[in-house]
Amino acid sequence: MDMSLYPHAVAMSADEFMTWSDAIINDLLSTGTKKTVDKLTGPIWAWGMKNSMHPLHWGLACCALEMAAASAPRYDAERYGMIYRSSPRQTDILLVNGWISKKIRPDLRRLYEMIPNPKWVVAMGECAISGGPWYDSYNCVQGLDQIVPVDVYIPGCPARPDAMIDGFMLLQKKIENYFERGNFMED
């Protein structure tokens, strides 16, 4: 059944409603409750999640200045719903912008575990991607993906604010695809 018909449930004739509800019942019988609920609620979750991306307000290094510039009036990332929250319990994106020293590695992993599911991880800047200028350093983790799974890489040294916003718009597509796959109930 076409997903675009679902929102019409608020304004449809009696015949249309019967067709629509029949289709839902057929969905339920053929694919099961779980998938039908996913199909029904997925677009709503995706709409809500991708328009209110709340990254963790965790400025590690110099890319945090670009993060600050991105939320300032010139770039104004808040129009995409990016509001930085200070507690990992209130966020759904871990934005790592800077070198990860060996000393902060356990805390980073812990912050990642504290973020409620579903969650996404963005590696911003060369240091978080691969170690960057600190390649082969004695005190730097060689890339964020050695600790946590990464969804979006934003290259740059540092990444420009518009590159960062572009990365988050890619992440919006990823969030949408995630809910379209319908694995929300599995989490």
Partner: protein
């Protein structure tokens, strides 16, 4: 008791130092700079004299250099009144990496000495808290030594 200068000139500072400590060697001088060396045994006394009598109230840097056959602790001390800066080198033998801490003279030297210890392994005696500062506590190597190799250098 030697004379106390608040704002010593280069000549006053060098003559006061060499008359008080004959073992101190003035290597060179430049505008607002004195480069000197001093033996390890009297380094704390020399620092106390520089602080008390020459009024060098600021310890900019304490760091180390690994020359493989010996190590050197470098102190950069400065005077607030005329901007004079003393570059004091103290040689430390590799088999006995101990030197007196100056964190009781300049409180700011505390973290510099901790960092020098964690990076070079130079032990500062009588330091109040000689622990690793920036590297994890379980490190057992000293990364700024020449003998430490990166993975790509092995």
């Amino acid at each position: 008791m030697a004379e106390v200068y608040q704002s010593p000139s280069i000549d006053e500072a060098t003559s006061a130092l060499t008359s008080q400590f004959p073992d101190v060697k003035i290597v060179s001088t430049a505008e607002r700079r004195i480069k000197m060396t001093c033996p390890r045994e009297i380094s704390h006394d020399v620092c106390q004299f520089i602080h008390d009598n020459l009024t060098f109230e600021h310890c900019s840097v304490v760091t180390g250099v690994d020359y493989v056959d010996h190590m050197t602790v470098v102190y950069l001390l400065s005077n607030y009144y005329n901007g004079l800066m003393i570059d004091m080198d103290v040689d430390v033998p590799v088999d006995d990496l101990h030197i007196a801490s100056v964190s009781d003279i300049w409180g700011g030297a505390n973290w510099h000495e901790r960092e020098t210890w964690e990076l070079f392994g130079i032990v500062f005696d009588n330091h109040p808290r000689l622990e690793r500062l920036l590297t994890p506590k379980n490190y057992e190597f000293f990364p700024f030594r020449k003998s430490y190799k990166m993975r790509s250098q092995e």
